[in-house]
C-alpha cells in the first residue's frame, strides 16, 4: 500500500511533519511505514518553457537549436529530441539545475544528473528540455508522454512557472506494510484516519453530496439484482449513470492516481480506481446496454465454463468461482475482473456501477485457480466491510456529477445479507493497565478511542467500535489500541514477578551436547543439511527397491523433486557436504550432523511420524575404520555405555563396504552402525577418497545413557600379565576371541588387550597371527599360581574350541 502525502493532507489538512517524522510516528503507532520516496528528488530549477524558434544545427544533423522562453527571458537550448516544434510548451531544466535520470528510463542515479550550460557540437546551450523519464517518472503514469522525446505540456501552461508543481511532483509517496488484520488501512482514508490519530489532528472525510435525488428514474427501474450464493457475496449494490460522456479526468485526480502508481485512463475508469484507492472498495463499471434482461445474478460458475475477461484472455472456471451474470450470460468474475462482453467502450451511454462485498478467502483461491490476480482481487481477498460498499458507490456517483461525466439515477439497488453491526466491548481501564503494566489515565484512553472513531457509552461502560475496524473483537484488541497510542516505547520495562524456577535442558538435549563435544574434540565440525530430499537419494545409496527406507513421507506440494520427501536416512546431507568439500579441494574433512529422520508409522500419514535424532559422523582423508570406532566408543564411554558393546559385520548395508562395516549393539540392542562407504556410493557422491561414516540412533542412546558413576577402590594387590600369541583362522573375529576370554577369565580377568596382529609370510594360508596381553588380578589378595593356571587353562581350552593354535 502506497499513499502520497498530498492526498493524505486532503483529509488531514493540519498534518505538518517531515517525511521522516511521518514515517517514524506512523510506524510506532502500528502502521509500519517501510520507506518513502520524494517525487521531486533531484529535480531542481525546472520550469515551463515555450519554444519560440527551431533552427538546424550547423554541424549535426540530429541536433536543432531552439530559442526557449522561460518566463523572464529567452534562452538558447540545443536538443536532439525528435518531437520539438515551434510553439511547443516544454519542461526546461535551467543551467545549474538537476534532473532525476536519463531519457532512457534506466535506474535513477542516487544524486541525479546536474545540467550545466555548455557547447553541443560547438553551439552554446543554456539548459535542457526534458522527457518524462528524465523527471524520474514514466509513461505508465503519464500515458500522454511520447515514447521517445520531450514531454509536451498543454498550450495553456505559463512559461516560467514551476513545472514540477504543475506536474504534481512536489509530493512524497510513503510505502506501508499493512498487517492482515487492518483491512481498513488498505485505503487512503484508512491511512489518513491513522495519521490523524497518530498526530492528534482533525480527520475530515470527503464530503459526499447525495446524488440522483432529482432524477426521473431510479436505478431499480433499470436493473434488478439477485444473489444466489449468499455465502460468497453478502452485499451487491448497483447504481446507474446515464448520459455518459467519456473524457479526461481533472488534473487533481490524475495527480493523485499517478502518486499511487495508477495510470489515468478516462474519467469513468479513473473514478472507479480513485474510489478503490480512497475507500479501499474495488468497484466495477458495466456498459448497461450489454446487460441482458435488466438483471444481475450473482452465482457460482459451472465446472469447465469458459469466460473471456476484459483483457481479452479466455479463462477456465470451476464451480467455486463466483460470477456476475445477467439474464443470459456471465459478464464478470466477481471481485477479480469484468468480462469483455460487458466492458466500457468509448461510445458507452449508460453505466452500471457495482460495489459489492465478496467472501475474501474465496476470492483469493479463485484468483489463484483462474490464474488472475488483480488490484481488485488483492483487496477483496482481505474481506471487506459491507457497510463501506455503500459509502464508496455514493462517492463514485458524486464524482461522476462533479466531473460532469454523466447523470446519476436515483437511489441504489442494494441486496444484502444482514449488515455488520458495531461491536460493543466492555471498557475496563484497570484491567488494561494491569495487562500492559502501565498506569494510563482513563481519560487518556478515551481520548485515543475518540481519535479512532471508537465511541464510548459511559452508562454501559462500553466501547462501540466502527464496523470498518473488523480487528476489534475483545479486551486484548482494545488493550492494543491503548498501547499503541500511549506508545509502546513508554510502557515500562519490568521482569516477570513470579518466583524464579530452575530452567534447563531435557535429558535428550544433554546427550546431544555430549555428542557434539565428543565429535568436536575429535576434530569433527558440525554440519546442517535439509531434512527434505529427493527420492533419488535411495538409488544413490544403492538401497534395494524394497528397502524400508524408501517408505518416506512425501510432501504434496514440494519445491521440486529434490525437496520432495522427508529423509528416512541421515547420510545424504552429510555425504553431500563431504562431496562439496572434496570438490573444493578441502583436505581431511570431518563432519558430523545431529538431525532428525522421519519414519512414518504408516502411509499415508495419519499421525505423527517417529522423528528420530541421528548422530552421524563422516570423514575422508587421514584415518580409518578404527579411528571412527574410537570416536564412537569415546561417545559411548561418556554416556556410560561402554560395557557390553558388540560390532556385528553380518548385516551388509548396500551403501557400505561389504567387508568394512558393522552394526553396533549395546546389551543386545542395536544403537547404530558404522563402516567405510561403498566405493560405488562414493563414486555417486563424487568423493575421491575413502570415506568412513558412523550413525548412532539417539533415541536408543537416550534410553540407555547414564551419568551415574561409582568409585571402585584402586587395586592394592599386584596384577599378573600373561601374553598369548596365537594363530587364528582368518574368519574368526577379534571381538569373539575377546568375548570368550572375558567370559572364561571371569572376575580375575581385569583386562584383555590386543598388541599385535599380522597376516602374510610366515603365517599359513587362511590364518592370521594375533597376540594379546591378559591382565589378571584378584582385588582381595595376591594371586596364587593355582588361580592363574586355572584361569589360563579355561581360556586356552576356549581358544582350542575356536580352532586357534598357540604359537610356541
Amino acid at each position: 500500500m502506497n499513499t502520497s502525502l498530498n492526498w493524505l493532507k486532503a483529509y488531514v489538512p493540519d498534518l505538518e511533519c517531515t517525511d521522516q517524522e511521518f514515517m517514524d510516528r506512523m510506524t510506532m503507532t502500528g502502521t509500519k511505514t517501510e520507506g518513502y520516496r520524494r517525487l521531486d528528488k533531484n529535480l531542481e530549477k525546472i520550469v515551463i518553457g515555450e519554444v519560440k524558434s527551431v533552427s538546424p544545427h550547423p554541424d549535426a544533423d540530429k541536433l536543432v537549436i531552439c530559442q526557449v522562453n522561460v518566463g523572464d527571458k529567452d534562452i538558447q537550448i540545443v536538443t536532439g529530441a525528435p518531437n520539438v516544434f515551434e510553439g511547443a510548451h516544454v519542461i526546461v531544466v535551467l543551467d545549474g539545475g538537476k534532473v532525476a535520470g536519463g531519457h532512457d528510463g534506466s535506474p535513477l542515479p542516487e544524486d541525479g544528473i546536474e545540467i550545466k550550460a555548455g557547447k553541443l557540437r560547438g553551439v552554446e546551450s543554456f539548459g535542457m528540455m526534458c522527457s518524462i523519464e528524465e523527471l524520474g517518472s514514466s509513461r505508465d503514469v503519464f500515458p500522454d508522454a511520447p515514447e521517445d522525446g520531450l514531454y509536451i505540456l498543454p498550450a495553456d501552461t505559463v512559461p516560467g512557472e514551476d513545472a514540477i508543481e504543475y506536474l504534481g511532483l512536489h509530493d512524497t509517496v510513503f510505502e506501508y506494510e499493512i498487517t492482515s488484520n487492518r483491512v481498513d488501512c488498505y485505503s487512503v482514508l484508512g491511512i489518513a484516519r491513522e495519521a490523524a490519530a497518530s498526530f492528534d489532528k482533525e480527520f475530515k472525510m470527503p464530503e459526499v453530496p447525495v446524488t440522483g435525488e432529482d432524477a426521473n428514474e431510479s436505478a431499480s427501474d433499470r436493473i434488478s439484482v439477485e444473489i444466489k450464493d449468499t455465502d460468497l457475496c453478502t452485499r451487491y449494490i448497483g447504481r446507474v449513470v446515464t448520459d455518459v460522456t467519456i473524457g479526461e479526468s481533472p488534473d487533481w485526480m490524475k495527480k493523485r492516481l499517478r502518486s499511487a502508481g495508477i495510470r489515468p485512463i478516462n474519467n469513468l475508469v479513473d473514478i472507479t480506481n480513485y474510489v478503490m484507492m480512497e475507500y479501499g472498495q474495488p468497484m466495477h463499471a458495466f456498459d448497461l446496454s450489454t446487460i441482458a434482461g435488466n438483471k444481475i445474478i450473482v452465482r457460482r460458475a459451472k465446472d469447465g465454463d469458459k469466460f473471456v475477461t476484459l483483457d481479452g484472455n479466455e479463462r477456465t472456471l470451476d464451480s467455486e468461482v463466483l460470477m456476475i451474470c445477467d439474464g443470459e450470460k456471465e459478464i464478470g468474475i466477481a471481485g477479480i475482473m469484468g468480462g469483455e462482453n460487458s466492458m466500457i467502450t468509448g461510445d458507452v451511454h449508460e453505466v452500471l456501477f457495482e460495489a459489492a462485498t465478496f467472501n475474501g478467502p474465496n476470492i483469493r483461491k479463485s484468483a489463484k485457480r483462474v490464474g488472475l490476480r488483480t488490484d481488485a482481487s488483492g483487496i477483496f481477498e482481505k474481506g471487506l466491510d459491507a457497510n463501506n460498499a455503500m459509502d464508496a458507490i455514493n462517492r463514485a456517483c458524486a464524482l461522476v456529477e462533479e466531473l460532469g461525466c454523466g447523470k446519476v439515477l436515483k437511489g441504489a439497488v442494494d441486496v444484502h445479507e444482514p449488515l455488520p453491526e458495531k461491536k460493543h466491548i466492555a471498557f475496563e481501564p484497570e484491567r488494561i493497565n494491569e495487562f500492559l503494566g502501565t498506569d494510563i489515565a482513563e481519560e487518556d484512553m478515551l481520548k485515543y478511542f475518540e481519535r479512532l472513531e471508537i465511541e464510548y457509552d459511559p452508562k454501559a461502560k462500553e466501547l462501540i467500535c466502527p464496523t470498518f475496524r473488523q480487528d476489534l473483537l475483545g479486551f486484548a484488541d482494545i488493550s492494543e489500541e491503548v498501547a499503541r497510542f500511549y506508545g509502546y516505547d513508554r510502557i515500562p520495562v519490568t521482569l516477570p514477578s513470579s518466583g524464579a524456577e530452575a530452567g534447563g535442558l531435557p535429558f535428550k538435549m544433554v546427550i546431544e551436547t555430549v555428542s557434539r563435544n565428543v565429535a568436536e574434540f575429535n576434530g569433527f565440525s558440525q554440519c546442517m543439511s535439509y531434512s527434505m530430499e529427493s527420492p533419488k537419494v535411495f538409488d544413490k545409496l544403492m538401497l534395494p527397491k524394497d528397502a524400508p527406507e524408501r517408505n518416506a513421507i512425501k510432501i504434496s506440494n514440494p519445491l521440486g523433486e529434490d525437496f520432495s520427501i522427508m529423509r528416512t536416512i541421515i547420510l545424504n546431507g552429510l555425504l553431500t557436504s563431504l562431496s562439496l568439500n572434496f570438490n573444493r579441494r578441502n583436505k581431511n574433512v570431518k563432519l558430523y550432523e545431529l538431525g532428525n529422520i522421519y519414519i512414518p508409522k504408516s502411509l499415508p500419514l495419519t499421525d505423527y511420524p517417529d522423528e528420530r535424532m541421528q548422530f552421524a559422523l563422516g570423514f575422508y582423508g587421514d584415518g580409518n575404520f578404527y579411528d571412527m570406532k574410537g570416536v564412537v566408543e569415546e561417545f559411548l564411554i561418556k554416556t556410560g555405555m561402554r560395557e557390553d558393546l558388540k560390532y556385528d559385520p553380518s548385516d551388509k548395508k548396500p551403501f557400505l563396504h561389504p567387508g568394512r562395516q558393522a552394526d553396533i549393539f549395546h546389551k543386545g540392542v542395536k544403537i547404530g552402525y558404522m563402516g567405510e562407504l561403498h566405493p560405488m556410493v562414493r563414486k555417486n557422491y563424487e568423493i575421491g577418497e575413502r570415506t568412513i561414516i558412523a550413525v548412532l540412533d539417539m533415541p536408543e542412546i537416550v534410553k540407555k545413557a547414564n551419568f551415574s558413576r561409582k568409585y571402585v577402590g584402586l587395586a592394592r594387590f599386584p596384577a599378573v600379565n600373561r601374553d598369548l600369541s596365537m594363530v587364528v583362522p582368518k574368519n574368526v573375529l577379534a571381538g569373539d576371541i575377546e568375548n570368550m576370554i572375558r567370559v572364561r577369565g571371569g572376575k580375575l580377568l581385569e583386562n584383555v588387550a590386543l598388541f599385535d596382529i599380522y597376516e602374510g609370510e610366515q603365517i599359513k594360508e587362511g590364518f592370521k597371527s594375533m597376540a594379546y596381553t591378559l591382565t589378571l588380578r584378584n582385588p582381595e589378595k595376591t594371586l596364587s599360581d593355582e588361580e592363574i593356571t586355572s584361569v589360563m587353562k579355561k581360556i586356552l581350552n576356549g581358544l582350542e574350541g575356536m580352532g586357534i593354535e598357540l604359537r610356541s
Partner: protein, 340 residues
C-alpha cells in the same frame, strides 16, 4: 706431621676436584679421595701409630678435612649438573615461530552457537527447553494459534503439506500449544527447532530453517514484563549497550503484538550499510498470548496471562557473525565452519 699431611691431601683434593670437568671425572675423584684406597683413609688407617692422647685431635682434623672435601665435591657436582642442564636446554632450542600442528578440534555450526547462547540466557531466566514435532497437525500449526481455516497464512504457497491434516510446521509456535495442553502451569519454556516454508533457496531464503519459540504463562504477567524480558535477552545476546525498540505489529496468536528491533551492533545506531541506514535491525516478533489461544488450550484467560516470542535462528546467526548468504549455512564448507 699429620697436620701437614692432611693439608697436603686437602690441597691436592681441591685441585683434583677443580680439574674434574665432567660428572664422571668428578665421581672418579670422589672414589680416589674418599674411597677405601684414598689418602684420607690411609691417614685414618695410620691412626694406630698416633699417640692415644693425640688421637681425638687427629681424628677431628681428619674429619674436618673430609668434610671440606665432601663439600667441595658437592659444590663441584652441583655446578657441573647445572652446566650440563644448561647445555642440554640450549641444544634443545626450537624455532617457536614454526607453524602450529594442525588444529584438531572441530567447530560448532554458527546456528548451534547462536542457539546455545539463547538457551543459556533463557535457562538462566528459568525457562525450560522443550521440543515439538516438525511434522505437525494442521490444528497445532494454525487453528490452535488463532489462524482460522481461510487465513492467507495457510495458503499453500507458504506451507508444505503432507496431506489435508499433516504438514511441515511453518513456525515453532505449535510447541506452545503442546506445552499449554499439558496443563502444567505456570509455563516458562523456549522451543527451538526446524521450520519449513515454501521458499526457493537463495541468499536470504531457505525452505528449511530454525526458530526459537518462547512462552511464559503465569498469573499477573504484563506487557511490560515482555518488554523487560526481551530487553534483557537482547542485551545479553548483543551486548550491554544494545538499545531495543518495540513496534506494534500483528500476529494472529498474540494481542497486543510487537516486533522488536535492536540498535545496529555494527554502527551503534547511527545508520550504516549493514542496517540499511536505519540504525535498527529487526530481530523478533512477540506479543501477549491471545486470550482465544489460551482458551483453546483450556487455560482461563481471566486468571492467566502470558507472552510469547519467536526468533529466527538463522537471522540471529547471520547478523551476529555478519554472514551475507544463507546458503553458506547449509553447504557446510569446512572453510566456512572453521571460522566459528
Amino acid at each position: 706431621m699429620v697436620k701437614e699431611k692432611l693439608e697436603e691431601i686437602r690441597e691436592q683434593a681441591l685441585r683434583q676436584i677443580e680439574a674434574s670437568l665432567d660428572l664422571e671425572k668428578l665421581n672418579n675423584a670422589r672414589v680416589d679421595l674418599l674411597g677405601k684406597k684414598g689418602a684420607l683413609t690411609a691417614v685414618l688407617k695410620g691412626m694406630k701409630d698416633v699417640a692415644a692422647e693425640d688421637r681425638p685431635k687427629v681424628g677431628q682434623m681428619v674429619n674436618d678435612t673430609r668434610a671440606e672435601i665432601e663439600k667441595a665435591l658437592e659444590e663441584a657436582k652441583n655446578k657441573l649438573e647445572v652446566a650440563a642442564m644448561e647445555a642440554q636446554l640450549s641444544a634443545e632450542t626450537i624455532d617457536v615461530t614454526l607453524p602450529a600442528t594442525g588444529r584438531i578440534i572441530g567447530h560448532r555450526h554458527p546456528n548451534q552457537i547462536a542457539l546455545e547462547e539463547m538457551e543459556r540466557i533463557f535457562t538462566g531466566l528459568g525457562y525450560e527447553v522443550v521440543e515439538g514435532p516438525e511434522v505437525e497437525k494442521d490444528y497445532y500449526n494454525f487453528e490452535a494459534l488463532n489462524i482460522p481455516a481461510d487465513h492467507p497464512a495457510k495458503d499453500e504457497q507458504d506451507t508444505f503439506y503432507i496431506n489435508g491434516e499433516m504438514l511441515l510446521r511453518t513456525q515453532t509456535s505449535g510447541a506452545q500449544v503442546h506445552e499449554m495442553e499439558k496443563g502444567r502451569l505456570p509455563i516458562r519454556m523456549i522451543s527451538p527447532g526446524r521450520v519449513y516454508r515454501s521458499d526457493e533457496v537463495d541468499a536470504t531464503h531457505s525452505p528449511c530453517f530454525h526458530q526459537v519459540e518462547g512462552l511464559l504463562i503465569d498469573e499477573h504477567v504484563t506487557f511490560s514484563d515482555l518488554k523487560g524480558t526481551l530487553t534483557q535477552f537482547a542485551k545479553e545476546l548483543f551486548g550491554e549497550d544494545t538499545k531495543v525498540k518495540f513496534r506494534p505489529h500483528h500476529f494472529p496468536f498474540t494481542e497486543p503484538s510487537a516486533e522488536m528491533d535492536v540498535s545496529c551492533f555494527k554502527c551503534g545506531g547511527k545508520g550504516c550499510r549493514f542496517c540499511k541506514g536505519e540504525g535498527w535491525i529487526e530481530i523478533l516478533g512477540c506479543g501477549m498470548v491471545h486470550p482465544h489461544v489460551l482458551e483453546m488450550s483450556k487455560i482461563d484467560p481471566l486468571k492467566y496471562k502470558g507472552f510469547a516470542f519467536g526468533v529466527g535462528l538463522e537471522r540471529i546467526a547471520l547478523l551476529k557473525y555478519e554472514i551475507d548468504d544463507m546458503r553458506l549455512m547449509y553447504e557446510n564448507d569446512s572453510r566456512f565452519l572453521g571460522q566459528f
